[in-house]
């Protein structure tokens, strides 16, 4: 990668400054953004996919797409949200191109009843039981800390639907986690 600033200077720079450098074609600056953001993007995608390898693959696609289109970013301060939206779009594309969500839900339900209530159900497993768009809203609200309005923009879902998804998803998640004794924080 072409070196714009020294690596330690980049590491110390504010995100807006690094994004501006990356927008001007500084690949080292973009590498720094990847270093800073990879954890949150991979965690978000792991929550959504429940598959570490797939999540990392989607995260890499997200960062490559980010590198290709960063010049089109309107405001450097919006980088984190823009990148998150790219990641969500890649996940949605993957969901649409893979087998239907209902089938996955059915599989899990079978596993759930077969293994019985004694089996510990972790948070990711509980999330996997939610329908895709409900899971997306829940993850963006609880894991990413987004407001309902921001979720509506990121996921391109109407605000009213976001609110009902979160209310419904939270209730379902509480129910699932309490059933398995995983709710005690």
């Amino acid at each position: 990668m072409r070196q714009g600033l020294a690596a330690n200077a980049l590491a110390a720079a504010s995100e807006v400054a690094v994004v501006l450098l990356a927008m001007n074609g500084d690949d080292a600056a973009y590498g720094e953004l990847v270093r800073r953001r990879q954890g949150s993007i991979r965690n978000l995608l792991r929550r959504l996919t429940r598959d570490a390898a797939l999540a990392d693959d989607l995260a890499q696609q997200t960062f490559v797409q980010g590198w290709l289109s960063i010049r089109g970013l309107k405001a450097p301060g919006a980088f984190a949200g823009w990148l998150r939206k790219l990641a969500v779009n890649f996940w949605l594309q993957n969901v649409r191109s893979s087998r239907p969500e209902v089938a996955i839900e059915e599989d899990l339900r079978t596993e759930f009843t077969a293994s019985g209530a004694a089996q510990r159900l972790d948070l990711d497993a509980a999330l996997a039981r939610l329908p895709g768009d409900v899971r997306l809203c829940i993850v963006l609200a609880y894991s990413e800390g987004l407001s309902h309005g921001e979720i509506s923009q990121t996921a391109a879902i109407p605000l009213g639907t976001v609110k009902s998804h979160i209310a419904r998803g939270s209730a379902r998640l509480r129910e699932l986690l309490q059933g398995y004794g995983d709710m005690h924080v």
Binding site: M1, G31, V34, R35, Q38, G39, R42, N43, R46, D56, A59, Q60, F63, V64, W67, L68, D122, L123, D124, A141, Y142, S143, G145, L146, S147, H148, K163, I166, A167, S170, L173, R174, L177, D182, M183, V185
Partner: protein
Amino acid sequence: MSEENDAQLLALFARSHAALPSTDFRESFGVRLERARRIRTLRRIALLAAAAILAAWFMPSILQRTAAAAHTLGEFSGSYIRLVISPAGWAVSTLIALGVLVRTGSLRRR
């Protein structure tokens, strides 16, 4: 943060947030980025080549049409100039100039 989020769920999500090692991820991302860079370069070269071929293909006809248009314009402007410098043309243009001065109020006494 949303006004309706459940505090217990929030704490649970925060607790289960994993710190992921980045070295392998960044290495394989570097490989993928290099591939994307090569593809982008090839695509740009292909686009430039296509543009050059199209330009070479259409250039003779574009030049021909431009020359014909310039010729027509030249003929038209020649007759227009002859009209303007005739006594009648001079009189009409003076009247138009007077009309403009009257409309803008430039002839009024201050």
